[in-house]
């Protein structure tokens, strides 16, 4: 086990997979000469050359479309969308082409491509560059959406995404790139579509993904240390397919759930999770499922306002305490 950053885990996995599979190539803006806006692709142009590390014009629809075509013809493109906000330009290619070709043409060819892209706010990048719109893709049959929160999961899920025969949107997060964690030397391939219970507990289930999964973990540990609360944390890891079984099992055990998400509350990922819990764990719920999400505004630029609009460890802690109060476990 080596302790490396989320950024390094992504870089190493891309490089290793390019070494073992010559069909894998990278395409995107500024990924070659500039080595990537977040330096995930540092050094790869020098090592693999222009044919396998393709710099493109600022034309998301164009290069995502090129990746779809390459994938249909048997290559395994990994496209980097500089941020998830820019994926909107390529929405038609992703939703109407990548996601649908396999089904619409009777399975004649699959589209084994990966779209790596970071989401997330909190960096004072303004409303149009700070969004959490992974839901748009998690909504679409034919796509897979994964959202790892740890360096180890980033590595194993990127590997799984590249080797998957369906188009995968691989959600990263600006605030996770520098986080560190243990990563196995030998890459482990995991199954896409499995959530992880990252902390077992018995009083309440906290469900999160991407950045909020790490916040959930911190909150759970703090509540255990300071208030003796035993919170179970479930990291979704995959938004589509959604691992309903793991969620339901956890809530059947604890009887209550708080969902932490960086996206907006209304129609958000948490709404789908809450509906799944209502379906699978209705008779086990002692209190309505609670959601902690971003304020329903375009994210402000001003730092205090931006901070106030995003969900935080504090707002999650309050929601967990209130949920436990409602079932009489903190009295």
């Amino acid at each position: 086990m080596a302790v490396i950053t989320y950024r390094q885990a992504l870089h190493d996995t891309l490089r290793e997979e390019m070494l073992v599979d010559e069909d894998v190539f990278l395409i995107g803006e500024e990924i070659g000469v500039f080595e990537g806006s977040y330096k995930i692709t540092a050094g790869l142009l020098d090592e693999f050359g222009e044919k396998r590390v393709r710099d493109t014009p600022i034309a998301e629809e164009g290069f995502v479309g090129a990746a779809v075509g390459a994938a249909m013809l048997g290559l395994r493109p990994v496209a980097e969308l500089m941020t998830i906000n820019f994926s909107l330009i390529a929405l038609d290619q992703i939703v109407n082409h990548a996601a649908k070709i396999y089904g619409m043409f009777g399975g004649q060819c699959s589209v084994p491509m990966v779209m790596r892209t970071p989401g997330g706010g909190g960096q004072q990048l303004g409303a149009t560059h700070s969004q959490n719109i992974e839901l748009y893709y998690a909504f679409v049959p034919g796509l897979k959406v994964v959202a790892p929160s740890t360096p180890a999961d980033a590595r194993s899920l990127l590997l799984a995404s590249i080797r998957d025969n369906d188009p995968v949107l691989f959600l990263e997060n600006l605030s996770l790139y520098n986080t560190k964690g243990e990563v196995p030397e030998q890459a482990e391939q995991v199954e896409i579509g499995k959530a992880a219970v990252t902390r077992p507990g018995s009083d309440v289930t906290i469900i999160g993904y991407s950045r909020m999964a790490t916040v959930a973990q911190q909150v759970a540990e703090k509540l255990a240390d300071e208030e003796g609360i035993s919170a179970e944390v479930v990291d979704l890891r995959s938004l589509r397919p959604l691992d309903r079984d793991t969620l339901v099992q956890s809530v059947r055990k604890t009887g209550c759930a708080v969902i932490a998400e960086d996206d907006w509350l209304t129609y958000g990922i948490g709404a789908e999770v809450a509906a799944s819990l209502s379906d699978g764990a209705f008779d086990y719920l002692d209190v309505p499922v609670r959601r902690v999400a971003a304020a329903e505004v375009p994210l402000p630029y001003a730092k205090p306002l931006e901070r106030a609009a995003l969900p935080s460890a504090d707002s999650l802690t309050t929601a967990v305490r209130e949920t436990l109060d409602a079932v009489g476990r903190r009295r």
Binding site: K253, G255, D283, Y284, A326, G328
Partner: protein, 429 residues
């Protein structure tokens, strides 16, 4: 038409309770689908369908008890023919899906007034509407036989929550959050003059299946097995220090801790291996000598006493016993243990030390021939070489079935156990 019958899910099962229907009338069922949750004498298990079809009729509602083999539902092709045919044989037409509809049709204004009139009894009077309660509280109330109308809700807006049901169901104070193991107690003497009377000072609490089984088995045990009791005071000063040292090392290596009870369980298994005459069962005209050592470890749960089994305890390390015990104790509390994880024990250990009990006697869990009751570790003054010294002492009491185990045999077992616990390195040797 296919009948769904109450299945036989364990060797000792004679009747079962429909804990929940997982399919509603009209649902399509494929072979292998889970149709219902069945509560047996100790566990809740899933009933899978052997056939394809459509659930056309529910004959036995949730919470009802019927003998094995009784038809509980009817499957057909979806045309309703099965339900019609079934109607001639059964007078229980209630489909679970229909029940909730009535309450959602209440006018909003009435619901508002119900929210303000807190006591559930009053709601009963204004039309018998059920009080506001969480789904979990309703499920637990059904399981424990608590009438919701007798419970006052303490959740938001007066909602009845699980804690309220548990408070209503048990006279005893709430279980401590930490792992608590408990002895099989003799059933409390029946308050015969109170049972069945309308005395307002007495609340009747129907027995759940665990309590029924506990009462039956332990009464048999005390009536049939002549118990003898042998108590030893064990100096565990070294054991306590050893455990602290062991846990420091385990923690440094990233492993979970072990408890004193885990060490006791391992030592008991080792002592049984050395004294196989205690690892026996009395069987009418013969003794059964068990070649393997499976230890039952008593666990107190909200619904009653459970005894999960650590199989082949003599061949497991202390850490394995600790992990196995923790896992099973947790699942015992959630009632997720499978029947085979609660049967087959050849000897049991019961520990009330965490409640500060100095020593006690436990009732043998038949067909075992012995159970060890473990008390609390206490600081005591002992005399060693004519001097007063402070030592940590632990008292254990062996209850043995005298039909199978003589006093001297039990004493040799305790002697061996004492020497192991006083020289703790040997426990892990």
């Amino acid at each position: 038409m296919t009948e769904i019958q109450m299945p036989r899910l364990s060797d000792t099962m004679e009747e079962g309770v429909i804990a929940a229907w997982r399919k509603q009338v009209g649902d399509t069922i494929s072979r292998g689908d889970v149709v219902a949750d069945i509560e047996t004498d100790k566990a809740i298990m899933e009933l899978e369908s052997y056939d394809d079809g459509v659930l056309e009729k529910v004959l036995i509602g949730e919470g009802e008890t019927v003998p094995i083999g009784t038809p509980i539902g009817l499957m057909g092709d979806g045309s309703g023919a099965a339900a019609e045919a079934g109607a001639q044989t059964s007078a229980q037409p209630t489909a679970p899906a229909e029940q909730p509809a009535a309450s959602t049709e209440q006018p909003a204004a009435e619901q508002e007034s119900a929210r303000e009139s807190a006591p559930a009894v009053e709601q009963q009077e204004d039309g018998g509407r059920r009080p506001k309660s969480s789904p979990l509280a309703r499920a637990v109330a059904k399981e424990q036989g608590v009438d919701l109308s007798t419970v006052t809700g303490t959740g938001p807006g007066g909602r009845i929550i699980r804690a309220d049901i548990e408070a209503a169901a048990s006279v005893a104070p709430a279980e401590p959050a930490e792992q608590a193991t408990a002895a099989p107690e003799t059933p409390a003497p029946a308050v015969s003059e109170a049972v069945g009377t309308s005395n307002e000072d007495v609340e009747e609490i129907p027995l759940n299946n665990i309590r029924k089984v506990t009462a039956k088995r332990l009464t048999e045990s005390k009536q049939q097995a002549p118990h003898i009791y042998l108590t030893s005071a064990i100096d565990v000063t070294d054991l306590v220090a050893f455990r602290a040292d062991l846990n420091e090392r385990l923690q440094a290596a990233g492993g979970p801790k072990v408890s004193v009870n885990d060490l006791v369980v391992k030592a008991v298994a080792t002592a049984l291996r050395a004294n196989p005459s205690v690892n026996v069962s009395f069987d009418g005209d013969k003794l059964l000598q068990h070649k393997r050592i499976h230890l039952g470890v008593a666990v107190a749960t909200d619904s009653g006493l459970m005894v999960p089994v650590v199989a082949d305890a003599d061949r497991k390390s202390v850490s394995e016993i600790a992990a196995d015990g923790r896992d099973k104790a947790e699942r015992a509390r959630e009632r997720k243990l499978k029947p085979d994880e609660m049967t087959g024990s050849t000897f049991s250990v019961s520990n009330l030390g965490m409640f500060g009990i100095e020593e006690f006697t436990a009732v043998i869990n038949p067909p075992e021939a012995g159970i060890l009751a473990v008390g609390a570790t206490r600081d005591e003054v002992q005399v060693r070489d004519g001097e007063f010294v402070a030592r940590k002492m632990l008292r254990v009491t062996l209850s043995a079935d005298h039909r199978a185990v003589d006093g001297a045999v039990g004493a040799q077992f305790l002697q061996q156990l004492t020497s192991l616990l006083e020289d703790p390195l040997r426990i892990i040797a």
